[in-house]
């Protein structure tokens, strides 16, 4: 025996006070990774779980086989939705600090993932988001005011006051409900896709979780069921390096990428630069075509960085260097797309400023509209009987009694 046994404990490369160090992130050159035909065998694309699909190079040019060849109009939509997501987030974080909402989770630095993926999928595809995918809602054209009403738990809240902020859903928009329980949406998305296949419909499903959440049982359930039934589903892992205070090594990222989990099940799996709008779009379109044509499910790992706190309840300065995001080798997804568009698609700083102004107005206007449906401190308020609705389709006797009990009590007040 060479050494006394001890537990291996993963360590992030830098803690508060240390200089950020992202040497561990394996990065391929833009354009360097080959793009297999969608019907290629899973065995032939193992390398895609180590490589990193990237399209935009250091000069902001789109290069290589994964360039999705989007036109300027499409890019502007993407940029607009990313920017709107960021402004929306910033506003909501401010509102939380001011005590106007109880809680918030921003997606700062990860906007490209939701926005590019929503664009690359069909509107009838069903999305099973995590709590950091507000960009999906925004890209599918959700009225911001409705999201804000949810965060306010007011009379226009689609959740009828029953959920914490950000636990949105959008039935008509084909976006499933966010839940506080990690990873549970994964097998649900697979089941949804199985049902599509059973019914002979060619809609596909997509689901999102964080890299930390891959450790949960439902990750394995989802991959197993997707593989066995070849369900038309895209399973996304957003590897933003952190799960609250724990570094991605605690989910098993120290030795292997998260994409690497897929091939062992026979699932096509790709690691992509999550801050490269074009790469995310291309990879998603590839996986969607694969799933839709019945060739099989796909697992996509998006390599990105959680630029903000985990939530408004979190203080990341306790566990990581303050300036990590600035050192993040894959940059800021919004700036990168902006630079690309300025150089190649007639975008400009001036247009960007104008857009920022326009979107800021939309955000603040939406907030005002939302508040007209009620805030935490001022009504109108939801009727208390909403507390008892929707536990069941029809209210059973014991809930009728409890509702009446509460009503009597409130009338006494």
């Amino acid at each position: 025996m060479s050494r006394k046994p001890s537990l291996n404990i993963p360590h992030p490369p830098a803690r508060p006070g240390d200089a950020p160090d992202f040497d561990y992130v394996q990065i391929s050159a833009a354009g360097a990774v080959e793009r297999p035909e969608v019907n290629s065998s899973v065995r032939s694309m193992n390398h895609l779980t180590d490589d990193l699909v990237r399209v935009m190079d250091d000069e902001h040019a789109a290069v290589g086989p994964w360039d999705p060849q989007l036109d300027a109009g499409e890019l502007q939509i993407g940029l607009r939705n990313m920017l709107l997501t960021r402004l929306f987030d910033a506003h909501m974080v401010r509102m939380q600090r001011q005590g106007k909402i109880s809680f918030y989770m921003q997606s700062l630095g990860e906007e490209a993932i939701s926005v590019a993926q929503a664009m690359a999928l069909e509107p009838s595809d069903m999305l099973f988001p995590s709590y950091r995918n507000q960009g999906l809602q925004i890209s599918r054209g959700r009225n911001l005011m409705e999201l804000m009403c949810q965060c306010l738990s007011n009379t226009n809240d689609m959740c009828k006051g029953r959920q914490m902020p950000i636990m949105y859903h959008w039935e008509r928009g084909n976006i499933f409900s966010v839940t506080g329980n990690l990873t549970v949406n994964y097998p649900q998305a697979v089941g949804w896709a199985m049902a599509a296949a059973i019914k002979g419909e060619d809609d596909i499903a997509a689901a999102w979780i964080g890299e930390g959440a891959t450790a949960e049982a439902d990750f394995h359930h989802a991959l197993t069921f997707a593989a066995v039934y070849q369900a038309p589903v895209i399973l996304n892992v957003v590897n933003n390096q952190w799960a609250i205070s724990t570094f991605q090594g605690f989910a098993g990222g120290e030795r292997r990428s998260f994409a690497a989990r897929g091939p062992g099940y026979g699932i096509a799996s790709i690691r992509v630069d999550g801050n490269d709008f074009l790469a995310v779009h291309a990879v998603t379109r590839w996986a969607a075509e694969r799933a839709r044509r019945g060739i099989g499910p796909a697992l996509i790992e998006h390599v990105t960085y959680r630029a903000g706190a985990h939530s408004t309840s979190d203080d990341p300065s306790r566990y990581r260097p303050k300036d990590e995001f600035a050192a993040w080798p894959l940059g800021d997804p919004l700036q990168r797309l902006q630079s690309h568009m300025i150089r190649f698609h007639g975008w400009s700083e001036a247009k960007h400023s104008a857009l920022t102004e326009e979107l800021t107005d939309i955000v603040t206007g939406s907030w005002e509209d939302a508040c007209s449906y009620g805030t935490m401190s001022e009504g109108p308020y939801l009727d208390h009987s909403e507390l008892f609705e929707d536990v069941y389709k029809d209210m059973p006797n014991h809930l009728l009694e409890q509702r009446d009990e509460l009503r009597r009590q409130l009338e006494e007040d």
Partner: protein, 338 residues
């Protein structure tokens, strides 16, 4: 009227619903080609196809999770958990997700999943093939919980469960699959053809969820029970020649309080019997409800006869099982009290 045992009745319910509604599918371990380890789904895959009667990987959490997604996409899945003892790996998907989906989405998303699972002891299954975990599920709001005691009820209630737009956990007392077992394991087994509950219409019918059934009626005592214990309680009352209201709870959640109340107000004495362990079991809720609703009619304490608070032991199965003797002793004690 055709005779069916409980397995055939359940099979018939699924067969009819698979035929009537293209949205109905069955998924579970060994339910497809093989027809289930208890043969409850026998022939269904042959008749309705592999896309609708589906063998599953051995992952109860995955089965429930996938069933929820199917439900959201318009199907009406019947998920079989091979033994109720193996439902726990699916507990999170049931309690956190299935039960709360309608509520948390303001009614926008729902998943009308029926979970079927064999429960209870009496088949020498030891602690991992004999459990009665129904009580746990009755503490999860948003679920409905059903347990039939006859083939007739099994078919009618399973059809209702499948048609119900809310999730239903449907417990099948496996000791009743082949006959109305009254707790006496020394007696030769009796087939369902000897019991009126074994007369089961061939065609579609449904029984309401939320309604208990008075299976025997009398003035001296009320017995609240369900599943296998209905037959044990009936046998015990007959042996003692006690005139008892025996109420088969049938649907544990929502509970039919009115039927219970009416009876206990009449008899003033109440015995609760279940096979599940006693502490914090469903009998506790029944007792609490009776005290709240019928306190002034009670002439004696409410008594519970339940499984002991131990795992279900292989060698002591019949000491553990709350059989006729324990039920009779409690009945007698109750009648003498107060």
């Amino acid at each position: 009227m055709p005779q069916m045992n409980m397995i055939q009745a359940l099979n018939s319910a699924m067969d009819i619903m698979l035929s009537r509604d293209a949205a109905v599918i069955v998924i579970g371990e060994d339910v497809g080609y093989f027809g289930g380890v208890f043969r409850t789904t026998d022939g269904l895959q042959r008749k309705h196809g592999e896309q609708r009667v589906i063998d599953a990987p051995i992952a109860e959490g995955g089965i429930i999770g996938a069933a929820i997604g199917m439900g959201v996409n318009g199907l009406r899945p019947i998920a079989e958990i091979q033994f109720a003892d193996y439902i726990y790996p699916g507990f999170d998907q049931i309690a956190s997700q299935l039960a709360k989906l309608r509520y948390r989405t303001g009614g926008d998303f729902t998943a009308p999943v029926t979970i079927r699972t064999p429960c209870g002891g009496g088949i020498r299954g030891g602690q991992t093939h004999s459990q009665s975990p129904e009580g746990l599920f009755t503490h999860v709001c948003g679920l409905k919980v059903v347990m039939p005691s006859t083939p007739y009820d099994a078919k009618g209630l399973l059809i209702s469960a499948i048609e119900d737009d809310d999730p239903v956990v449907f417990f099948e007392p496996k000791r009743l699959y082949n006959g109305p077992f009254d707790g006496d394991a020394d007696k030769p087994a009796v087939p369902w053809s000897t019991h009126p509950g074994g007369e089961v219409p061939q065609d579609y019918y449904s029984l309401p969820i939320g309604r208990a059934e008075l299976v025997a009626s009398g003035e001296e005592l009320t017995v609240l029970c369900y599943g296998t214990m209905v037959h044990v309680a009936q046998a015990a009352a007959e042996r003692l020649q006690i005139a008892a209201d025996i109420i088969d709870i049938r649907t544990l959640l929502p509970l039919d309080v009115a039927t219970i109340k009416q009876s206990v107000e009449k008899t003033g004495r109440c015995l609760i019997v279940h096979e599940a362990t006693r502490f914090s079991g469903y009998g506790a809720e029944l007792s609490a409800t009776v005290v709240e609703e019928c306190f002034y009619s009670l002439e004696a304490p409410i008594r519970r006869v339940c499984g002991f608070d131990t795992p279900y032991p292989h060698a002591f199965e019949w000491e553990y099982f709350p059989g006729q003797k324990r039920v009779m002793a409690a009945m007698q004690a109750l009648l003498e009290e107060g």
